[in-house]
Amino acid sequence: MSAPGVIAITGLQTFAARGLAARLLERTPQLRVVGFDLRRPFRLDDRIRFHRVDLSEPAAGDRIAELLRRERVDALVHCAFRREPTLDLEMDHEVETIGSIQIMNACAAAKVKRLVVASSTMLYGPHPDNPNFLTEQHPLRGHPEAHCIVNRVEMESLLTAWIEKHTDTEVTVLRPCWTFGPTHWDHVVRYFALPIAPMLMGYDPLLQLVHEEDVVSAFERAVLAPHPGIFNVVGRGVLPLSTLLRLAGKRILSLPSPLLYRMAYYPTQQQIGDPPAAFYDYLRYLWVADGSRGWDAFGEPVYSTKEAWISFVSARRMRRYR
């Protein structure tokens, strides 16, 4: 299959899915876009055929398979992952792991020819023994404390088994790193939007960012042409965390790691999510991914790490970001 006629997108409310849908409608109007989500998105484009689907329902697989068959879907983009870790561990597991199984089964039943799955380079996990550049073959070690990462690692291992069984489906797994840009917002961006950025004293890891436009482009290219395999979607270049923050003129609060980890538990109690110790480990150890495979497949990213950061900061600045 070269170009699909009907594309289904799950998790239409998520950032990548929304951007992809808008991009597809704008650039390839001959395509039909079908959207699935738990709730009908606000101000949905009426060219998108929307269906309400709850992935945590036991019969969700059947319902999706039926919808896929009825809409004659050729390619499915699976983005139905939570944007932010929550304290509802069970629901996270239901949606991210079990929900993905339902999607895979539905794709197999409806003979969908192409499947694009959104993953993340966060799945490699921050580890002191990571090489400076993690390739796609590197095992996904995740972070034992970050349950949303654990769920998605499990999802990827299930997906690998599924790919072996269903060889006639082209499966692309995209692993973007931390996404920055004028409109993207998640728990990572929330950290960088704090008035004073807490940092671990004595640690200044190299970070890698990708611009939201480049993520959407990668998704667009992955769904429009065959690119089976796993790809890191990252920007070129790396920068230390302190350099990023200082480029933005942000004030930094360096705290010793035990103190910061303990302090950071208070937001958890206010229902923000994952044990934040897990998040601060991402600001402690290296987890930079090697993007050369993705750049070869989807073309050179428009924004480098620094440019993505500057784009984010300047957009925030207009909204009085400090």
């Binding site: 002191p128 023994d129 090489p131 400076n132 550049f133 390739t135 671990l200 004293m201 004595g202 640690y203 200044d204 890891p205 190299l206 270049g237 790396v238 920068l239 230390p240 302190s242 350099t243 200082r246 480029l247 003129g249 942000k250 004030r251 930094i252 790691s257 150890y285 290296l286 620094k306």
Partner: protein, 329 residues
């Protein structure tokens, strides 16, 4: 000048009135003092003209960009920062010329172009040896390239070490990193002794420990990269470790805490390395053109070659030791 007429009555009355007025004034002063308490001690005149608001803003702005001046906005992909390096260079020169009086030879034998892997003996907790070897190459070799030295995991993830080591050209020692650096046709300095080398106590000095699991040799065989043995003399006496302390080290997250004649005794001052005389000897390259790349799969061959390499470095070190007149040179 005429005297006022003497009139005792008038004088008495005036005196009484004066006393009354005095009293009234006193109470008035008291009242004023109570109603409007005097402001505290006044600032010296010099400080009165300072615009405190503006000064405060300035200081705050300076603080928020503190340290930015010594760093560039760009680092290379392994985190090396040219600006930091430029700032550190005079200090490294001082260490190289005056402090350790490094005498390097054989560096001109390194290739004019293409990658090279340098294998050296390791000593001391802090990677001074890697820094000095990289500095020697930058100064003496016509390529003037900053060689990258590989640093053990525990050291590169140690708080306060990690940011600086990366900026000065340290890279975590692992196969993927070494391969990537060699692909970029750089000089890479490896210390296959690893943590065992860093943990050498004083009486074991200049006796090379076992060389890891042969990763260096395997890399050479697979990629056909020239491998240069390097003997570094002097570094092993800069931090003479008398014994290793483990109980306290565990709480600090170190593999061990070195006890030198000066270190815990004199506090941070004791952590200064001793000004020994250093010799760096770069040997002839190990050429294994006759071997096929799949020789890397022959574990016994790799082990034998690794042992041979260790022996060659040992010879370089021994020769350096005999060249040197005394520890202080």
């Amino acid at each position: 000048m005429s005297q006022p007429p003497e009139n005792p009555e008038v004088r008495d009355v005036e005196l009484e009135e004066l006393a009354e007025i005095e009293e009234a004034l006193q109470s008035l002063r008291h009242e004023i003092r109570q109603r409007f308490p005097t402001p505290g001690p006044r600032l010296p005149a010099l400080l009165e003209d300072v615009d405190w608001q503006r000064l405060f803003t300035d200081v705050r702005r300076k603080l928020s960009t503190l340290g930015m001046s010594e760093r560039s906005g760009e680092v290379d992909e392994f985190g090396m920062d040219e600006v930091t390096l430029g700032r550190a260079r005079p200090f490294l020169d001082l260490l190289y010329d005056r402090y350790w009086r490094v005498d390097a030879s054989g560096i001109e034998g390194l290739p004019e172009e293409g990658p090279a892997l340098l294998v050296a003996n390791r000593s001391g907790l802090l990677p001074y040896d890697g820094l000095m070897l990289a500095h020697a190459i930058e100064r003496l070799h016509p390529r003037h390239e900053r060689a990258r030295f590989l640093v053990a995991d525990w050291l590169i993830t140690l708080p306060f070490m990690q940011p600086y080591l990366a900026r000065l050209g340290g890279v975590r020692a692992c196969r993927e990193n070494a391969e990537r650096l060699l692909q970029h046709r750089r000089f890479v300095i490896a210390f296959p002794e690893g943590a065992k080398g860093a943990a050498k106590v004083f009486r074991e000095r200049y006796r090379l420990k076992r060389f890891g699991r042969g990763g260096v040799v395997r890399l050479m065989l697979e990629r056909g990269i020239p491998l240069y043995p390097v003997g570094i003399v002097g570094a092993e006496e800069a931090h003479p470790i008398l014994f290793r302390e483990h109980a306290l080290a565990r709480t600090l997250g170190l593999p061990f805490l070195p006890v030198t004649p000066t270190f815990p005794l004199l506090g941070p001052l004791g952590a200064l390395p001793l000004p020994t005389k250093w010799l760096i000897r770069v040997g002839e390259p190990v050429l294994l053109d006759h071997l096929e790349p799949d020789a890397a799969d022959d574990e016994l061959l790799v082990a034998r070659l690794t042992e041979e390499l260790r022996a060659r470095i040992q010879v370089l070190v021994d020769r350096g030791l005999s060249d040197r007149e005394s520890v202080w040179g």
